[in-house]
Amino acid sequence: MDSTRSNFFRKTFLRREWLLVLLIIVINVINANLSPYYLNITNLFDMTFSFMEKGFIVLIMALIMITGNIDISVASNIAMSSVVMAISYQSGLNMVICIIIGLLTGTLGGFINGYLITKFRLASIVVTLGTMSLYRGISFIILGDQAVTKFPEKFAYIGQGYIGDTPIPFQLVVFIVLAIIFSLLLHKTTFGRHIYSIGINENACRYSGVPVDSIKLKIFAISGFLSALAAIFLTSRIGVSRPSIAIGYELEIITIVVLGGVSMYGGEGTIPGVVLSLFLVGFVRYGLSLKNVPANMIIIIIGLVLIFSVMIPNVLNELNINKKLKRRV
C-alpha cells in the first residue's frame, strides 16, 4: 500500500513539472509569434530582473507551505528591511554595514514570526497576518511619506549589474545558487525529509522526536532573511526605498508556489516545480506586457491559471476514482 502510494505521488509530481515545462514551451511559442522582440537574448535575460526578488522568497515559501504553514508577512518584511537599511544609510553609516543591518532586521522579523508560532502554538496565518500590518506599520512610522534615494553608485550593481560583459544579470546568478542550495536542502537532507513529514502529520512528528518547533523557527527565520535579501536587491534595482514598496508581493509569491505544485495542506511540492512556475509566470507577464496587455488583464489571467491548474487535475482525479469504484462494485 505504502509503496504504491509513494509511487503514485512521484508520478503526480512528475506530471506537474512536465505540465509546467509544456506550458512554458507553449507560452514561449505564442509569445515569439506575438512579438518579434520576444526572442532576443538580452531581452530574455533582462526580463528576469522583474521577478528575481520574488524568486528568493518563493524558494523558502515553498518550504514553509510544504510544512503546512504560510507566511504572508514577507512583503511587509521587505519594506521594513529596506526602510531600516535606508534610514541607517541616511544617518551616515557605511553601506556595507547598512546592508548587514537590513539583513538582521529582516531575520529578526522572521524570527519573531517563528517564535510566536512555535511558542504559543498559533496558526501561522494569524501570526503573519498580525506582523504583516505590524511590519508595514513600522516602515510607515520610520519613513512616513518620505522616500530615501541617492544610494551609492556601487550599491546599484547588486540589483542592476551584469556578470562581466555577459548579458547575465548578477541577480539571476544569485537566484540560481540559492535554488540549488534549497533543492539540495529539501530533497537530499534529513532536514528536508522532516519538512515533508511535518506537513503530512505534525503530531506524529512530535511523538517520533522530530524537532518540529526548531525546524519551524528556522524556516521562518530564513524567510525573514531572504525577505531582507530581496529588499536589498529590490531597493538597489529601483534605487529608492519607500514604506510602500513590495505591496501585494505576498499574494504573487503564494500564487507562484501553489502553481508550482505545492499543496496548501502541506506535504507536497518540489523546488524544481516552484522554480519552473516562477519562470512560467515571468514569461506570461513579459509576453503580455510586450503586447501592451494592461496589467489588470494580466492579473485576471494569472488568477484563472492558478484556479484551473489546481482544479483540472483534481477533477480528473475524482473522475478516475469514481470510475475505479464503479468497476469494483
Partner: protein
C-alpha cells in the same frame, strides 16, 4: 457521565470569558482615550464609530461563517470593489433606479460571485485559499476592466442612491440599521437554525459531520454564497457611503475582516466563534481607529497598532485557553 456536563459548562464559561476579555480591554481603552480627549465619550462620536464599523461588520459576518466551516475567503475585498463598481456604473447610467433595486442588485451580483467561489471549492476541489486567492485577483481585475480604471463620482450618482447609506430609518442611520438587522438575522441563523449548527459541526469535525449525514459540499457552497451576499451588500453600501466607486477601493479589506474575526475569538481553524464576539472585535478595531484620529497620533501609526492588537488578542487568547485547560485537568484529577 459526570464528565460531559462539566466539560460543556467550562467551555461555555471560557467562551463567555473570551468575550468578557475583549470587553474589558475595550473599556480600558475607552477610559484611557477619554482622559486624553473629552470629545471621545460623546454620543455623536459613538455614532461616528458605529458608522465606520458597519460595513466592516457586515462583510466580516460572511467571513466569520466561512471561517466557522474551516474555510477562508480572501476575495471579499475585491468583491466589495467589483460589486460596488458594477452597481455604481449601472446607477450612473439609469438615474431612475430605486435604491431598493440597487441594493437587491448588489446582493444578486454578490451572490453570483460568492456562489462562484463556492462551486470552485466544493465541486472543483480546489483548496479555499487558492480558489479565493485566484478569484481575488480575478474580481479585482474585472473591476478595473469594466471601469477602464475610471471612477464613478458623486455627481454621477442620483441623490436617492447616496441616501442608501446616509438616510435614516426610524431615527437610526441606515448603515447602523443594516448592521442591526444583519446581526439579528445571523444570530438566529447561527444559534437556532439547523443549517447554522451544521456550519459549526462541519468546522469542528469534518469526518464526523460527514458520518452524521451533513453534506460538506452543500455547507461550503452555502457559506461562500452568504459571504458573497454580504460582500455584495457591503459593496453597495461602500459606494453609497463614500459617494464614489473606485476599482482600487477596499484593498486589503479581506485582511481587516479576518483580523476582526480573529480578535473577536473566531477560531481560524473552524468550529468556534460567536457573533457578539465578532461585534466586539469589529468594535475594538473601530475604537482604535477613531481614538488614534482623536488623539491626533500620526496616521502612520494605525497600521502598526492594528497589527499589534491582532497579536496581543491571539496571544492572550492562547494563554487564557491554556490556563482553563490546566484547571480542567486539575479538576478531572480530583
Amino acid at each position: 457521565m459526570n464528565k460531559k456536563p462539566l466539560n460543556k459548562n467550562s467551555w461555555s464559561i471560557f467562551v463567555k470569558f473570551r468575550e468578557l476579555g475583549i470587553f474589558i480591554f475595550i473599556i480600558l481603552l475607552v477610559i484611557i482615550v477619554s482622559l486624553r480627549s473629552p470629545y471621545f465619550l460623546t454620543l455623536s462620536n459613538f455614532n461616528v464609530i458605529l458608522l465606520d464599523i458597519s460595513i466592516l461588520f457586515i462583510v466580516a459576518v460572511g467571513q466569520m461563517l466561512v471561517l466557522l466551516s474551516k474555510n477562508l475567503d480572501l476575495s471579499v475585498g475585491s468583491g466589495v470593489a467589483l460589486v460596488g463598481m458594477i452597481v455604481a456604473m449601472t446607477v450612473s447610467k439609469n438615474w431612475n433606479i430605486q435604491p431598493v433595486v440597487a441594493i437587491l442588485m448588489g446582493i444578486g451580483y454578490g451572490l453570483f460571485f460568492g456562489a462562484l467561489n463556492g462551486v470552485i471549492i466544493s465541486k472543483g476541489k480546489v483548496s479555499p485559499v487558492i480558489a479565493t486567492l485566484g478569484t481575488m485577483s480575478i474580481y479585482r481585475g474585472l473591476a478595473f476592466m469594466i471601469s477602464g480604471g475610471a471612477w464613478v463620482d458623486a455627481v454621477e450618482m442620483p441623490e436617492s442612491f447616496k441616501l442608501i447609506a446616509r438616510g435614516k430609518i426610524l431615527g437610526i442611520p441606515n448603515l447602523i440599521f443594516f448592521m442591526i438587522v444583519i446581526f439579528i438575522i445571523f444570530y438566529y441563523f447561527l444559534n437556532y437554525s439547523k443549517i447554522g449548527r451544521q456550519i459549526y459541526a462541519v468546522g469542528s469535525n469534518r469526518e464526523a459531520s460527514k458520518m452524521a449525514g451533513i453534506s460538506i459540499d452543500k455547507i461550503t457552497f452555502l457559506v461562500y454564497s452568504i459571504s458573497g451576499i454580504l460582500f455584495g451588500l457591503g459593496g453597495v453600501l461602500w459606494v453609497s457611503r463614500y459617494a464614489s466607486a473606485q476599482s482600487d477601493s477596499a484593498m486589503g479589506f479581506e485582511f481587516q475582516t479576518i483580523a476582526a474575526c480573529v480578535i473577536g475569538g473566531v477560531n481560524i481553524a473552524g468550529g468556534s466563534g460567536t457573533l457578539p464576539g465578532l461585534l466586539m472585535g469589529v468594535l475594538l478595531l473601530g475604537i482604535i481607529n477613531n481614538a488614534l484620529n482623536l488623539i491626533r497620533i500620526s496616521p502612520f501609526l494605525k497600521l502598526a497598532v492594528q497589527g499589534l492588537v491582532i497579536l496581543i488578542a491571539v496571544i492572550t487568547d492562547v494563554l487564557i485557553k491554556r490556563r482553563v485547560q490546566k484547571i480542567l485537568l486539575l479538576r478531572e484529577k480530583v
